[in-house]
Symmetry: C2
Subunit: 535 residues, 2 copies
């Protein structure tokens, strides 16, 4: 059995970032901090959990990528002309277009004079009026309820009900949030109670995982129970491995929560229905509350895969499984819309004890409410234009070019365009990577990422150990080399966690086709050189 490794402890974020910030903070521009003085809050006094937190997706590689971009602007000579950022699932930053309907509704809600102009289709106007009618003083500048606008929560429930083939969904069980991350963080907080002997609560998180989970458990002082996904079985959840992880952790914590990301981040797999059933049974037997991170539910590319929500599977399994406690998360940031910056998300909280649900709602009230415009983005995602509505043609299907009269853009079938592009790149990436010696990549069935394994030569591993900043992870060393010599910014597998002795990186499949091909080319040349150099 593999040994658990802490997936994030090895990144040296503070070292590099700290020095840079130090220069700019005490530079001549700021007279107030120009001279040395006593500091009350030093690293010694700082909350140690803050020091422990790591978030590789925005770590040292990304900071270095930004510096290289600056250097390129200043005409510093490099063997490449641009940085390719495949480090983060940030679709619009990669030239993906926004969905017109979403943007028109938000613009109309923000500046209601647009409601009276003829420039927006009637369904945009109607939707904007409906949403504004639920805002205090008919303004998006009013706080919403802490759980979000009622009308949006109703639309979320309708969406879930339809998605899950008619299973009931109650708007009282929906809370809107600034992206899914905020909802995950607020809900995980509920579990943070040590037992009577002082043992911390334990939360099961996959290895590899999306680093929000490790950052949050570190911050809260929660014990993270890492369970390995099975790379050989296309990153499936092995029940035996879940049991092993749980049993090994029991002496150290009180296990309470199981987090599953489906479709997977960073791994790009889509769980089969049978696998989800097994996981539900496991959670039932082991008395674990379930978190289903389902933010990539629209991102399924493999024709043999299908998204099954945990809620639907639990329901169809019948009692006692249909009574299990579950929180499921969705977001406006991924899918075909990619509206990361708008910060829209929701959680559906199923079968939670009513008193606990009330306490949860109270606990988020001190944050007042999530971004109302983010809530509106979420509304458009869960209730997009329907057939027969004027915006439908542009959103989903164009049959008649006269329908473009309302739009200044020439893009057609916005949703399909994005998903088709992602589909193509999902197929291409594993093919391309598997064509490179020393790289092995599972099929990207869904989400926005590939997580290829790289077989590093022992010399490279040795070299990493004695590299500039001592004790680098070999895949960090590899990724930093890739960045410095090709401008390609990926995130090393150690930022997500991986089996000891294996090395990976995460790349998105988001760049537009020409950049995507450029990325593959730069990468394969680099990899060959690297392998030769250290063979």
């Amino acid at each position: 059995m593999p040994i658990l490794t802490s997936p994030t402890n090895h990144l040296k974020f503070a070292d590099s970032g700290g020095k840079r910030n130090s220069q700019s903070q005490t530079g001549p521009a700021d007279s107030m901090s120009a001279s040395p003085s006593r500091k009350l809050l030093t690293m010694r006094e700082l909350n140690p959990r803050i020091i422990e937190m790591q978030y590789a997706v925005r770590g040292p590689l990304v900071i270095r990528a930004a510096e290289i971009e600056k250097e390129l602007k200043q005409n510093v000579k490099k063997p490449f002309k641009s940085v390719i950022r495949v480090n983060i699932g940030d679709a619009h930053a990669m030239q993906q277009h926004s969905i017109t309907f979403i943007r028109q509704v938000i613009a109309a809600c923000t500046y209601p004079s647009l409601l009276d102009s003829a420039q927006f289709p009637s369904d945009v106007i109607e939707r904007a009026r409906l949403l504004l009618g639920d805002c205090g003083g008919c303004s998006v500048g009013s706080y919403s309820a802490s759980v979000g606008l009622r009308v949006v929560r109703e639309h979320v429930s309708d969406y879930i009900r339809k998605r899950d083939g008619g299973i009931a969904s109650d708007p009282e069980n929906i809370i809107l949030s600034n992206g899914a991350s905020e909802a995950i963080r607020s809900l995980m907080k509920l579990f943070n109670r040590p037992d009577s002997g002082g043992k911390p609560v334990g939360v099961m998180v996959s290895i590899p995982q999306y680093p929000l989970y490790s950052a949050t458990t570190s911050e809260y002082g929660i014990y993270r129970i890492g369970y390995y996904l099975n790379e050989e079985k296309n990153w499936a959840l092995d029940i035996a491995e879940l049991k092993r992880a749980l049993e090994e952790a029991r002496p150290k914590c009180r296990p309470a929560l199981l987090c599953v990301i489906n479709p997977g981040n960073p791994t790009g797999q889509v769980l089969t229905r049978a696998n989800i059933e097994e996981v539900v049974k496991f959670a039932y037997e082991e008395k674990l509350f379930l978190f289903a991170d389902e933010v990539y539910q629209d991102n399924v590319y493999d024709p043999n895969s299908k998204f099954h929500s945990f809620k639907k599977v639990m329901h169809e399994m019948g009692p006692p499984y249909s009574h299990m406690e579950l929180a499921s998360f969705h977001s406006a940031s991924k899918g075909y819309m990619g509206e990361c910056g708008l910060r829209g998300g929701y959680a559906e909280i199923v079968n939670m004890h009513p008193e606990v649900l009330t306490q949860f709602k109270k606990s988020i009230s001190a944050k007042l409410c999530s971004s109302v415009l983010g809530q509106i983005a979420m509304d458009c995602v869960v209730k997009p234009p329907a057939p027969g509505e004027p915006s439908y043609e542009l959103f989903a299907k164009v049959t008649d070019s006269t329908l473009l009269k309302h739009h200044r853009t020439k893009r057609l079938q916005e949703k399909a365009e994005v998903l088709n592009n992602l589909h193509d790149k999902a197929s291409m990436i594993s093919e391309a990577l598997n064509g490179i010696k020393g790289v092995k990549c599972n099929k990207v069935q869904g989400a926005m990422y590939a997580f290829p394994r790289i077989f590093l030569p022992p010399k490279a591993i040795e070299k990493a150990k004695v590299a500039e900043s001592l004790g680098q992870e070999p895949d960090f060393f590899y990724a930093m080399n890739l960045l410095e010599s090709t401008g390609v910014c990926v995130i090393p597998g150690s930022g997500f966690g991986q089996k000891e002795g294996t090395y990976h990186f995460r790349t998105t499949i988001l760049p537009p086709p020409t950049v995507f091909h450029d990325f593959i080319e730069r990468f394969s040349k680099f990899h060959e050189r690297f392998m030769t150099m250290y063979s």
Copy 2:
């Protein structure tokens, strides 16, 4: 010396809210939770700090107010026809108009086709282009850096520098956030380290205070050191009282942080420069990091008062005070703009240890970024239209009505209109309240609130003790009676904290003039009846 009372422990949020939610969650609409079943997460397993958290501004009175509104819609007979919500600083919900420039810039950034139309003034177009140029892929749908868009942080620095008469401000010390609340919560987290003996860190918070502070310290397990504001000296900060509170708390905690709200919430005072100097000296001597909650910096009404930022005062005091560590907070939610729902805010972090600053920036990266549209709102607040720019006339001064051609609205001088209205109501409210027997109200010098003292008869206090839900605070009992019999929703002083044996409530000054007069009338009649009933 007064005895410290926990300002929030007495509100019975869960009792009422819990039952209601319970009904709706297990109602017939949701088949999955229809039958009884084991619950893993009950009140017994719930994080006890979540139970302890209270946020009165959204507490049981507000929940009841919403119910009464529903009852009115269903034609339930009441001695009033509408609910008047003066419980929360939510300006747009009280019919305050938005600032056209802010909304046009956000609309143009959201739907860039508007940039090519002639309907927005050129400065709106320019600003939108500048902001979009700083967004990945020129889209507000891209994540910004965790600290926020660079260009907005530069504008924030420019604003602070001008506000403070030229004192330097570094964009590297600015972070943008979802309202000021989020920044306060993220920064307070840094201090949460018990000492070697296990004593918690101590944070000094005023009594009365804005309940974000008590909710956050409860959630984090931080020891709250309450210091009383001096009601007799118009809610000034007494240094002797600060010392008393600190000395009393020392055996129980490691004091590290002093929070000051200026202009005051819920108290409406504006601190004098001399008082701020005293507080800075006190913080220096006692080795306390300073948090200056300055979200009402634009809301000063008293011609004898002026807003002085803590940063400016510290700087002008010279060393060693000018080297002190300080975080100052501002927001797009208050002032004349009142854009609460957009969730824009910032913190300026001055003189923080560079390594700690880096750690802080890392710690917020797991949340990815604050709402980009909220950041854009903040941008417009710190860099509003300037004289000579096309939007200036509408924003600040109209001299030529032809300038209205760009606007569908007839409102003039938007900023002045809002602030003049608030100014008038600030004068009116203390006058009106002081004209009522058994009510005493300090002058509202700034912010958006009055916090009058009510002198309750002993019989009313007795009655509260035996009221329906046992052990109500007398001012809660009073406020609930006010709500049930007049529809006026205020927040009892016990939600903010007050000297033992004194009773208050907080009301905003936000309702439009006719509603405002109606509120005063309903209130004075109620108060008279109440006093007669219990005399």
